[in-house]
Symmetry: C2
Subunit: 432 residues, 2 copies
């Protein structure tokens, strides 16, 4: 990057939307990130920061003092500021709050009361509220007194005297209706506001099923606290969907694709260590049958087939269940149906592939006994795999353990051990 | 379900939003689905159908004739009708179109020109367009002549005489601005409309980075064709994120959690068959070393450890890369950096766990040679795994093969074969 190129990069960078600049920062190796960050214009820094994942926010924040943080976050949405402040040490957070004006601070403190994985943590306080008794004419004049209407405002929120939610007036209704009728006549009352403590994934599901752009948030007594907008919900959907995928490999959904070796290696090492324990358990299972392997070496050649087919079949079942649970499709009403379906599939595919493997193994080693033994072991392992792959995530979920993270490790241990023990055990009975 | 309960279920069902009913149908085993479907009120059927995944749409459509399909899809958004029609045999599609009025048919045919994975397939034609020369006062009066404004309308679209896109007028601007100024003065012109052939994942990325609620779609000559709304983009985001997760287990992102055994088993069987080939390749690798295993049976006990640790390390790298590619973070500029980072991580974690395994294996079998051999094999396999896990998805993507689907199978074959060959090969050199 010579200085001429730098000027080009700077010009290009500042023609982008904050979300696009954030994407570019995320897509760059660490040392370029610092260079790019310095090129972002001051008034864009806050918006870009708001779009970055937690660990990158923390990285850039660590170089700023409280006054700078207060300056660049000015004008951001409450939930974005709250997210950013959560990356700071507590002491610095309070300093930043002290740099803000009284009204901003009060608003922010109300959002920061809630953890960021519930409705309250996703919420902004930039609602426009109106009373049911007004005419639309008055509402239109009231709006015109505003300098601007917040982004993603599709509804005005109707509240009563005690600030309790009673309905919404869509802008699209306001614009086509007779100005002389009252808000009460035109407002929509059959939407349930979001309780402030609703978990974020339930909020996301409501938005998806109802095709909302924004939705009001209320406290226990129905008082309006703020609103949630679809842009923040999209982030929740993206993260929840990524969560299962990344967890299956022992990774975090906020994993930085371009983390440095020093940051990425230790996280990966832990996962390898956990899986090493699994591998040693499987090895111990084999170890019990040393004498049999010594007699028939072909067993050592074939045993990984039994274990790996069990692993694949179990992972398929686990994947279907983990996704079903994440999407809120699996409940006590249908879990037995799922379990028995999976076991039936395991049985059918067990029969099919056991037969194929039996023939292949028999021909390979010119020994029909070994074919029968591997077929029986495959059947046992594929049915076990199906049962474990289905029962395990249900059990883990009930124990509040993340099935996407823990499921794979436990499942592999089971399919390896059952695969090796059933195959080598049957062989021992036969050849001993 | 006795008849009293049925009445309750029907009442509950028809109090739900179409998206919620669709979710309930998706969360039910096949035979309940048919019962539930019959309880949905006629005027909700179309909306619910529009929210269902493809295979469930096809299931319910197979029991309707063309006239019924035309009736229940009336009033749906164009892209939803187009999706539904794509589930029908071509002959039936044309019959349905013949049952529609001329205008609906013309509109639909324009949407159906495009495959459903590009902007054109996500688009609706329900735009409200205005001219730049009008005053806001005139625009407000023009809107009031509408019976209703389409859902998710946040912007009016400004076009010229030849229907070419020139900008948007946000409703939020319209509502706070002086009615006497012209659209030209208030419209936003610095947004790029979406080309009709843009792939859906790029559309999703634009929406995410720019926090759009809707965006205009244009043809090659800049003529406005329609608009895309965030609710359809959310489905794309959800499916794209699910795609990687499901593909790693050889499943489809539209996989029905409650598919019958008859539908689910054959799909799973194919994946097991592909993996069986992999397993036989790995077995053949072991087969070359029968004599060595015959001499030192401990090798059979330890060999799965080397293969499985390689598989885990490789899967971690593959997962990071697949997600990076899916999110559009990986490009030619940074892929070499990623590749060398992954190999470095493989090397470091290889060193760490090779040392641990060496000590454990040596103590277990009271043989320091076997410890040295397994350590060397682990190093070879973990570095190979890291390189393959990173290079493979880049290569597959360049060959237009889905890395999430094919990556895991190829990777496991490599780590199994390299694991077994390096461990047993080194042992043969030493013990022969």
């Amino acid at each position: 990057l010579d200085s001429g190129a730098l000027v080009d990069v700077r010009r290009m960078l500042n023609g982008l939307a904050p979300g696009e600049i954030a994407h570019l920062l995320e897509s760059s190796p660490p040392k370029f990130r610092n260079i790019l960050w310095q090129m972002i214009e001051g008034d864009q820094e806050g918006e870009v920061l708001g779009e970055l994942p937690d660990d990158l926010q923390a990285h850039f924040l660590s170089r700023m003092d409280a006054a700078e943080v207060a300056t660049i976050t000015e004008g951001l949405e409450d939930d974005d500021i709250a997210d950013i402040l959560q990356q700071l040490p507590d002491r610095v957070t309070w300093e930043v709050l002290n740099h803000m004006d009284h009204q901003d601070r009060a608003r922010l403190e109300s959002v920061m009361l809630y953890p960021d994985d519930v409705a309250g943590g996703l919420m902004n306080t930039d609602t426009i509220t109106i009373r049911a008794s007004l005419t639309l004419e008055v509402v239109l004049r009231y709006l015109r007194r505003h300098e601007e209407i917040p982004e993603m405002t599709d509804n005005l929120i109707v509240v009563n005297r005690s600030d309790q939610f009673i309905g919404v007036l869509p802008l699209r209704t306001l614009l086509v209706s007779d100005p002389n009728v009252s808000v009460r006549e035109m407002m929509v009352t059959d939407i349930d506001p979001i309780p402030v403590n609703m978990p974020d994934y339930e909020v996301a599901r409501l938005f998806e099923h109802n095709d909302w752009v924004s939705a009001p948030v209320v406290d226990d007594s129905g008082r309006l606290l703020g609103r949630i907008t679809i842009d923040d919900v999209v982030d929740v959907i993206r993260e929840d969907a990524d969560h299962s995928f990344m967890s299956m490999a022992g990774l975090d959904e906020e994993e930085d694709t371009f983390a440095s070796v020093g940051k990425a290696a230790p996280k990966r090492a832990i996962w390898l260590g956990i899986n090493l324990i699994t591998a040693f358990i499987a090895a111990s299972a084999i170890n019990m049958f040393q004498d049999t392997i010594d007699k028939v070496v072909a067993l050592a050649v074939l045993m990984p087939i039994v274990a790996s087919m069990g692993g694949i079949a179990g992972t398929q079942t686990l994947t279907v269940l983990v996704r079903g649970i994440a999407m809120g499709q699996v409940s006590r009403n249908n879990q037995n149906w799922l379990l028995s379906r999976e076991v039936t599939i395991g049985l059918l595919n067990g029969l099919l592939w056991a037969a194929v493997v039996a023939v292949a193994a028999s021909l390979w080693f010119d020994d029909w006994n070994i074919g029968l033994i591997i077929a029986a072991a495959m059947m046992i392992n594929l049915v076990t795999a199906a049962f474990t792959g289905a029962a395990l995530p249900l059990l883990l979920t009930r124990m509040s353990i993340d099935p996407a993270l823990a499921g794979g490790v436990v499942l592999t241990t089971v399919t390896d051990v059952v695969g090796f023990v059933s195959f080598l055990g049957l062989a021992t009975l036969f050849y001993a």
